[in-house]
Amino acid sequence: MSAPSIPVIRQSAGAGAARAAARRNAQKGAGADRRPGWITYGILTVVLLIAIYPMYYAFLIASSTKEDVARHPIPSLIPGSHLWENMVKVVTSDIGFWAALRNSLIVSGVAAISVVLFSTLAGYAFAKLRFRGRGPLLVFVIATTAIPTQLGVVPLFLVMKQLHLIGKLPAVILPGLVTAFGVFWMTQYLESALPYELIEAARVDGASMIRTFWSIALPAARPAATMLGLFAFVANWTNYFWPLVVLGAVPGKTTLPVALKMLQAHYYADYSQVMAGVFVSVLPLLLLFIVAGRQLVSGIMQGAVKG
């Protein structure tokens, strides 16, 4: 596999990654960094196995019966033949699996789209437009990224009660619609990725402000927006505390993590079934990871250098 060229990296992973790649190439040229030996790969293989094993363990238990689980605390590495049976039991059990899956998809999908749209809008304004109060407002956004907003859970619950949203999906979605981190992230990205000349050209051509945003800024923001959307999706998909508070453990009305907790509470004696539930709920995000894991990796690494 040949390494992608630096312009390709800039296109796919953003300017930061491109700079990093350029640096790496320079290193290679200088001969400072030779290929590491097998010990390095050995250590990494062990790390990788540790990262993957718990999921494989869930898969192994999910494919056996509860008698097998009791008899063999250390499961054999070859899966059993009861996976399908256990999965069917889970999706037809009284925890309301399909409704939970649908709810999780709606919550995570809406939150991801909304975070991307509003963060890009605000990030564009902060990065490229001049307006009174811009500096202090941006400082405010950065400061709020470090505030543990989950601690406002009691009043947030009261707000949802006032809005008559307790037990309804919008109550879960509403707090996830914007994140301070997202605004900060898009501001950082657009500052370097969107040249003023492009905006000015669009303005001279007579495009309105929103038109300029829509056809110039939004396309330029796409790589960073994709990553941000992925993070928002994962964060909302894995969220447990807030859906539990505002929806409760009600079959058919809640999200997947809460449904999993119900599965544990109802079937804790049959762990092969609980693990089948875990397996089914992890599967969608694992598929997402196979498709978009590369973006998640570069997203985390870019955010780290800038943040």
């Binding site: 990494l44 307006f131 009043p155 007579g206 544990q264």
Partner: protein, 340 residues
């Protein structure tokens, strides 16, 4: 800036659109330029005010009120909620557990993240593959991680105990005892976040300019010496970022200990004797458990906020010291290089 010649956006006012609309358009254009930034940032600020800032501040008000989940506010409570909470042994137990689990999860995690990042920082083949590999656990929900590890650490017929017995050791009561329970829960947190933090640290390592290392090599610094005297001081801001975020997240821990409780029914008891109840679990119990006491729940939230603030400040102070220890070392090196 405002150009008035194009047709595209002119209002459709028939034949008269030559002169008057141009003035209107100028006004509209100016308004567009002036107002647009505020319109663009307003969704964030409005939604954040409603769902983030207001609730956090209003927590202070609820915490000094008598407030029932079902029947609402019943007048002021002064500091009675705080006094009541601070007199509960269960609160202190929850605080002890939270800090203990936090330390057990964040300290080993940051050390391991540094080590694995250093290994990944080599000029590897199939870089992206290895990086993706360490990140896999990040997409597994804490609830799922909790269920998987809860089973692995089961007191009877759990895999970890079976392995211990196999190697001639005594099985451990992971759920019943305090420290083993904390270790098991910290393992879940470490599992999910180690890869993420490794990549953050790795990114910082790659941003260190090469000439700094060259200077160290010229000075005869060993690999290990380079790591401690160059790499760690150079990535200090990132370490601070990792430490602060894991403080904020770690002290609010809820999902993993909740899932660790395999008892039917009691959702957030945190073990038979509260041996792994955390502050956020206690907060949930007070507000949405049998007591329905939102006032006390809010008091706990505010106390936890203070603790997070204090620990973050301590962390900040500690990382500043890393800087002052690293700074002079770098200075020495540069001088040496010049004189050489």
């Amino acid at each position: 800036m405002a150009t008035t010649t194009e047709l595209e956006i002119s209002p459709p006012v028939g034949d008269h659109r030559r002169r008057p609309p141009s003035r209107l358009r100028q006004k509209l254009g100016r308004f567009d330029v002036k107002a647009s930034p505020y319109i663009y940032i307003s969704p964030f600020f409005i939604l954040f005010a409603i769902t983030g800032l207001f609730p956090l501040l209003y927590t202070a008000y609820v915490s000094v009120s008598k407030w029932n989940l079902l029947t609402g506010r019943h007048g002021s409570a002064g500091f009675a909620n705080y006094v009541a909470v601070l007199h509960q042994p269960f609160f202190w137990k929850a605080m002890r557990n939270t800090v203990s689990i936090f330390l057990l999860s964040s300290v080993p995690q940051i050390i391991l993240a540094l080590v694995i990042a250093a290994v990944l920082n080599a000029n590897l083949r199939a870089k992206t593959f290895w990086r993706m590999g360490v990140l896999v656990p990040y997409v597994v929900a804490p609830v799922a991680v909790g269920l998987i590890f809860g089973q692995m650490f089961a007191d009877q017929s759990g895999m970890v105990n079976a392995l211990l017995v196999k190697f001639g050791m005594n099985p451990i009561a992971w759920h019943a005892q305090v420290l083993p329970a904390h270790i098991a829960i910290a393992t879940m947190v470490n599992y999910r976040w180690l890869g993420y933090n490794t990549l953050v640290v790795l990114a910082a390592m790659q941003a260190i300019p090469n000439d700094v290392f060259e200077a160290a090599i010229i000075d005869g610094a060993s690999r290990v010496r380079q790591f401690f005297s160059v790499t760690i001081p150079m990535i200090r801001p990132t370490l601070l970022f990792v430490i602060i975020t894991s403080t904020i997240g770690g002290l609010q821990i809820f999902d993993e200990p909740t899932m660790f409780d395999q008892q039917n029914g009691a959702l957030t008891a945190g073990g038979a004797d509260g041996q792994f109840v955390t502050v956020t679990m206690y907060l949930y119990q007070l507000g949405w458990g049998s007591q329905n006491n939102l006032g006390r729940s809010a008091a706990v939230a505010w106390l936890l906020f203070l603790v997070i603030l204090i620990i973050s400040l301590i962390n900040y102070g500690l990382t500043q010291r890393i800087a002052s220890e690293g700074g002079p070392a770098r200075g020495r090196k540069r001088r040496k290089k010049v004189s050489a």
